[in-house]
Every structure is written in C-alpha cells, then in structure tokens.
Subunit: 478 residues, 2 copies
C-alpha cells in the first residue's frame, strides 16, 4: 500500500467508526500532513482518492467534508431481543413468502432478487450457451464433489479483495449460499445445541437452525456496527454456545457492516471461548465503495471461521452457485455436502468461472454497485416522503435491502396482507426473529428503482399505513 | 388393457414369480386358450408380444419357452447382516471413492455412471443450448421452490408407467436423488432413531442415515426377491423402527426387484406398524423389459410411501435433477428441501421437461435398456471366464450394476488397492454395509462393455484375485 493510500485508509476508518459524520469537516491538509509526518502533496493525493471513491467532497475555499449523500432519516434503534435461546418459529409465514414468488404479486418488494436484466450479464448467457455446445461430456457427468477446479481458483482469486488468502483446495462449491450455511450448521452443531445470531437475522439461517433441532440465541444488534460484543460476551459466559452465525458485512436485513475493529474483537472472543463462526458474506461484494470491507475470515489464522457466500445476490440466483471456505471443518462439511446433493451441476460452474476469469464479473459489479446505491437513495427518498411520521430506515453501505421500522401500531403482517391485494409484497419483520419480534418492521428490496412501479408501490404502502393508523377496516374483496 | 395384453401379463407374472424358469416350456396355445376362455389367436398375439419383449422364444415344432438368456452363474446367498441397529461406519472408504473420480483411474468400474456418450442424448444438449439463449430471464432467477411446473407435469405423466397416479403438485424437484433421500430422511427421523435398510445397501443412503445421527438396522436380503419380510416383521416387533429405506426395484447393489406380491405385503406390514417407507426408484425406469415393475408407491393409498427418484442414472448425473413424491410428508419435506438449497437450477429442469415432452426420453430409454442388458450379459460372461472358481454373481433385470461374491479369502479392499495400481477401480463390498460386512464382495458397473478396456479390466481383476489366492505379495511401486 502506498503512503497516500495509507493516509486515505486512516481517514476512511475514522469516518467509518463514527469520528466524523456525514457533512463533518475533515482535518486540514496541513494538519493531516503534520499528524502523519507526510508531505502536503501526499495528503492531497489521499483526499483525491477519497473523493474518487465518493467518500468525501471538497468545498471551495473551505476544505474537505464527509460527503453528505442526502438527509437520511433516523436509523432504527439497537435491537433488544429475548435474552434466552429459543426454538425458531415462523415457518408458516416463510412458506407463504416462498409460494408467493410464483404467484400473482407483481411488485415483489419482499424478495432479495438482484437485477438480472442488466446488459452486464449478457456474456454469462453467451458462455452458458457456448459451453453447453462444446463441453457436452462434462456437463452430463458428475462434477467433483468439491466443485470445479476452475471456479474454486477464481473464487480464491476474488477472495483477495476481502483480505483473504485462500487456496483453491480450501473451497467447496455448494447449491447457493443456503447449502453452504445448511451444511456448515449441520457440521458444527447437534440437536439441542445453541447458536448465536444477530437480531434481526436472515430467515434462511434461522430456519436452517430450527430444522437442525438447534436453538437460536438472538443478540442485540446496532444498525451500523452490528452485534453487541458486550452482549455476546455475556451470552458466552451464560450459555453453552456451540456456534455463532452472522452476516457481518452489508447485513440482511439490518444493513450494518461491522467495523474491522469489531470483527477483530469478535474473533478474539471466539478464540477465548473456543467457538466457531459461520460467516455469511453473501452481500460483501456488493459494497458500494472500494475496497470492499474485509471478511472476519481474513483475520482468522486458526481455521475457526467458516466463510459462506454465493453468486446469487451478486450475479444471478438461478445459477444456484455458492461456496464455503470451511477452515478446520473441511472434512465434515465436505461429507455433509456430498450426502446432501453429491455435487453441484457442472455447466453453470464452468460458465461462471469463465465469466470471472474474463473480467466480466468485476465489470458487472462496478455497474451494480452504482445502481444499487442509486436505488437505495431513491427508495429512501420515497419512504421519507410517503411513510408515516416516526418511520426509521436503515442506511446500508452495500446491497439492496432496507430495514424499515414503522410506528408501533402498524403490524406489518397486516400491512403485507393489505399490500398483496394491491399486488405488492413486503417481507414482514416477524420473519427475521426466532421469537416473532419486529411486528412493526419490514424488509423491502430497492432493486430497479428506475421502474415506476417501485415508487408507486412505496406510495401505496404509505397510504395503507395511514389507513391502518386511522383504523380503516380492510374492504372485503368483492 | 386389451385381452391379449391381459393374457401376456398373466404369463409374465407367472414367470416373474418363478412358476416358470428360464428354459421352461410354457403352456400350449390351446391349453392357455382353454384356461382363459379366449381364442387361439388371442393367445398367439399374447405370445407374440412376449417374444417382442424378449421374455419368451418360440422353438419350431416344439412350442414356447421362457427365453434362456445365458447360462448364468450361481447367485449370491441371502445376506445375513448383524441383527441390531448400528451406527454406520465406512465414511473414509467412501471419501476415497469420491476423490478417485477425478483422479487418474482410467477404468472406473466402481462408479454407477450411465452411458452419456449415446446419440440419444443429443436432443437434450440441443435443448439446453436453445433454452439458454431464449429463456434468459428464467434461467437467471429462482425457480419455484418445489420445481418447474412443466417438469413436475412430465414426471407425473411418466409415473403412470410404474402404476402411479401422481398429481404434478405432489412432486418436489430436488438436486438429484441424493437430496430427495436426504430430505426425506431428515423429515421423518430424529437423531437416535432406527431406520431399516436392506443388506447390502446403497452407500449414499446409509451414509445419509449416519449424518442424521440415526442408526441403521440391516435386514437379510435375497438376491432375487429382496428384503426378507419375515425378518422385517421380527424387526418391527423387536425395535422401535422409525422408517424403512429401500430400493425395491433393480436394487443397487444386489440387483433384486421385489415381486409385486412382496411389495403389497411390505406395504401391509408398514400400515400395521404405522411406519413410513422411503422408496428409492432410481433404477426403476432402466428395467430391461416392459412394462417396468410397479413402485410400492403405486399400491399406496395413504400417502405412507415417500417415492424418491432422479434422472441421474436414466439420463445424465450432471443434470443433478431428482424428485420426490412425498405423500403425507409433503409439508415437512418441502421445508427441508427449501432450507437445504432453496430451489433447483431452472435451465436443466426446463430442458429435461422438453426432452421428455418431445418423446426423446422414451426413445433414449428404449436404446439404453437393450444396451445395458447386453452389457450385463457380456460382463457376466467375462466374470465367469476370468474370476476364481466359486464366484457368484447377481443377475439384475435392469440397470447396469453387478454384485459379485468372490471366494472368502479375497478381501476386496485389497483387490481395489491392487486394481488401482493398474488404473482400474471397483467398489469394495464393505461400503455397502453399516457394519463393514461383505469383505469378499464387490460392486462393478458394466456400462459400455463394447469398450475393450472393460473386458481387459475384468481379465486383470481375475488375475489379481488369483495372485491374492496364491498369496503373492503386492510388488512395491518402483
């Protein structure tokens, strides 16, 4: 890392840790040059880099400021879940969401689907078509149980961006991130165990915990910095925790990214209590700014962290390609994967490996990062305009999901029911908790805000909320 | 069913049940006509049909005889496994087999891979290529969690051939049969439970039992009629059995198909003790003669049978497409499937649905049935010629796997080790038992016997057996 990059990185860290907020004035060029013992031009280069990355702005005759993206609404408060391990409920609700997918709802804000209409995916389609013609023998036969060697190689190469040094042999390809998480959970837990999760937490993880006969202990979680390490340590003291399962970067649904310092402290805690971490990094590559945040895995020297990810959110879910870097649990996770599905289909693995190798993946990501940041800002703007007073909204730095806290009296299960009658779906907050908390929260996707249906849907949701507040009964369907 | 088909079916049943053996003379045309009260020409048509199906032959001036395929060697004896539930071992050995697949072994008799070089699969490749171009939006997005509607429809249609009336909505598409079996097991068992299996038994099933924390109880099994129903009933009396897991048709590895009467009796037993059956029908469509045997599911009126299958053996394993008809366990199995891998990739589902709809599947099967029967006969001939005296060989009526019992003194783990040095692999018998029995057995594939490497490999195996019998030590690699 060059000197000016180091300086830029330090300033960026301070912004991330909250020393400087949006709109705050940054130290003068002279001040920073003295602090770091570097030249004026080095500081100027550092500030230039941060401007390129969209982190800061220069105001003429005044200095440098943390870029104010927009007037953002208040964030949801740190969560306060039930402080004991629970059997996860909510399957019926989730089933409802799954089944809806192929039903009549036209604006599915409930689902975390990436933009698959983008031109940057055309080369992927071309590769699938080509390889289906030229690699017939391979696509008809079993791929290696651990996955295609080329794809493992490309994933190891990409992992460098998150600070990880992985050998291709350390990677196992799975059917999406869900299989990676499911196999990891099965490998490190037994029925009756307790697993720690953040709160709110991704429903696919908490339900996978449930069907393993494992209980979930939810930990208070801050919408910017993530899981409370103090609460986590208390939990480690109090309960026989078997594993921790987190999405520490561009979290679903809350949007937080744990600062590196928290990630390092978490790892130290895990080491002290000898507990493995299942790290879900599925939205990591969709960070709006570069370099993308480091994975906790990247700080791990003991093989304690099981890193799970996929291309379902960054490329396309229909590929069903995920992966796990299982650390010291490789043998067991490989066995579970083999006995769950033998191996992952070869055609899409080969096409994706080529897509990455030929540079299309990075090109695609560049466009998606810009689009999704724009989508976030647009949808937040509409929510501010249309939702009832007191609404709080998460402010993610990557991905395309918003976590919205509505006034107490609004039950989002009822909101969802009313919305569906207008062909709109949301993901009700209760889905994201083992205990069915978050009754007045919802998760919505903001992908493709350029489509007028999205703005219209937000306006409709706002109207429905106000009808609910005014206790206007739902008209019976004619 | 027409009259002559009814008569043919009755004669076929009697042959299947063992009233007439190979080479036996069948009733005269006149005799049969009197017995059934049908015309002479109806019986002639019936015998004509059976000749077309390769079941019987006509000898000039003598009459009709059950076709003698060849002088077949003695079958292995009914198995006598350990009569108590066991934790399944043998994972290390299985891992060895899995890893070998992409290693240097050139003649892999160990693996159950179908012929994927056949011209009858060309339309499938063409469909994959075409659909990848025309259905881009669909292939990049999640398919319904239960699978593509078109494919479910085609599977329901095909199921009629095995006597099943399934509604497309009763079917869930999975990642191969392994995911179908794995999800079914997870849905009906809990750790500590006991599941009944045949013996020998497919290693993918017994290992899936193991990682669920369930114990396997192996039941004595006959190489022609399958699991002993008397022993099964005793087991039901003696142990708290949670489920039965069987491949009752063209069994892997033993090759048996349970006669319909046994299938019906088994179902009655299951009903009496209120136990579900997981029926693996993966080789059912590869029965050499038509109509293919009925599934146990086809006799089930209560939703007690969970029918699992896939296109991995009948079409191509690289598609990774299987399915389950979960009966009364639909809700739970759908949940487990969703939380294991969310959904199955859409492209191959769509292509396979079209492949079946356009009649290519049935055309492909017609060719494969003939080829695999020819392969079976060729490989049995070479085994008879080359293997030590006392060798017994299974005589499957479908599929492409042989179960070979060698003289007691031959340990097939050692045989496999020696064979690998000559670039040949076999599946050692111990893989097929929870307790590591069948030390002097092996399973071999007989696919593609037209390739001279197969005959050569059998000759090599024969030589290695004789060297082992003569206690010639293995030469150390130079």
């Amino acid at each position: 890392m060059k000197l000016y990059e180091q300086v830029a990185s330090t300033v960026k860290d301070r912004i991330d840790l909250g020393y400087y907020h949006e709109g705050d004035k940054l130290p003068s060029v002279r001040g920073l040059s003295q602090e770091h013992g570097v030249s004026i031009s080095t500081v100027q280069e550092a500030y230039g880099l941060l401007m390129d990355d969209g982190v800061i702005e220069s105001r003429p005759k005044s200095g440098y400021y943390v870029l104010k993206h927009q007037e953002i609404p208040e964030l949801p408060a740190t969560s306060s879940p039930v402080p004991e391990p629970l059997v996860v409920a909510q399957w019926q609700k989730l089933k409802h969401i799954i089944e809806e997918y192929h039903n009549q709802v036209s604006t599915k804000l409930s689902l975390a689907l990436p933009d698959t209409e983008t031109a940057t995916l055309k080369p992927l389609i071309r590769l699938i078509t080509e390889l289906s013609r030229t690699e017939t023998s391979r696509i008809l036969n079993y791929e290696s149980a651990v996955g295609s060697a080329e794809l493992c190689h490309q994933i190891a190469r990409l992992a460098v961006d998150s600070g990880c040094r992985l050998h291709p042999d350390e990677i196992i390809i799975t059917i999406g991130c869900q299989e990676a998480l499911s196999c990891s959970l099965r490998a490190v837990t037994e029925p009756g165990d307790i697993v720690v999760v953040d709160s709110p937490s991704f429903f696919g993880s908490v339900q996978a915990i449930k069907i393993n006969g494992v209980k979930a202990l939810e930990i208070p979680t801050h919408p910017e910095t993530g899981i409370s390490l103090e609460a986590l340590e208390m939990a480690f003291e109090q309960w026989p925790i078997r594993a921790v399962l987190l999405t520490p970067t561009n979290n679903n649904p809350l949007g937080y990214s744990m600062p590196d310092k928290h990630k390092i402290r978490l790892l130290a805690l895990l080491k002290r209590y000898d507990i493995p971490l299942i790290e879900d990094d599925i939205y990591g590559d969709l960070n709006y700014t570069l370099p993308r945040p480091r994975t906790i895995k990247s700080f791990d020297t003991e093989g304690r962290v099981i890193l799970c990810s996929s291309f379902s959110k960054s490329v396309a879910p229909g590929l069903r390609i995920g992966w796990v870097a299982p650390g010291r649990y490789r043998e067991h996770i490989m066995m579970v994967k083999y006995l769950s599905s033998l191996s992952t289909p070869p055609l899409t693995q080969m096409a994706l490996a080529e897509f990455i190798a030929q540079g299309y993946y990075e090109k695609h990501l560049r466009k998606m990062r810009i689009n999704y940041q724009r989508d976030r800002d647009a949808v937040i703007g509409w929510l501010k305009r249309d939702m009832p007073e007191g609404t709080r909204i998460s402010y993610p730095q990557g991905g395309y999901l918003l976590w919205v806290e509505l006034p107490n009296e609004i039950d989002t299960n009822e909101l969802d029911r009313r919305a569906r009658l207008e062909s709109i779906s949301i993901a009700p907050g209760t889905l994201f908790s083992a205990s069915g908390k978050y009754k007045n929260f919802m998760r919505i996707s903001c992908v493709n805000s350029a489509n007028p249906a999205i703005e219209k849907a937000i306006t409709t949701l706002g109207r429905l909320c106000k009808e609910m507040q005014a206790q206007i009964p739902l008209a019976e369907p004619v």
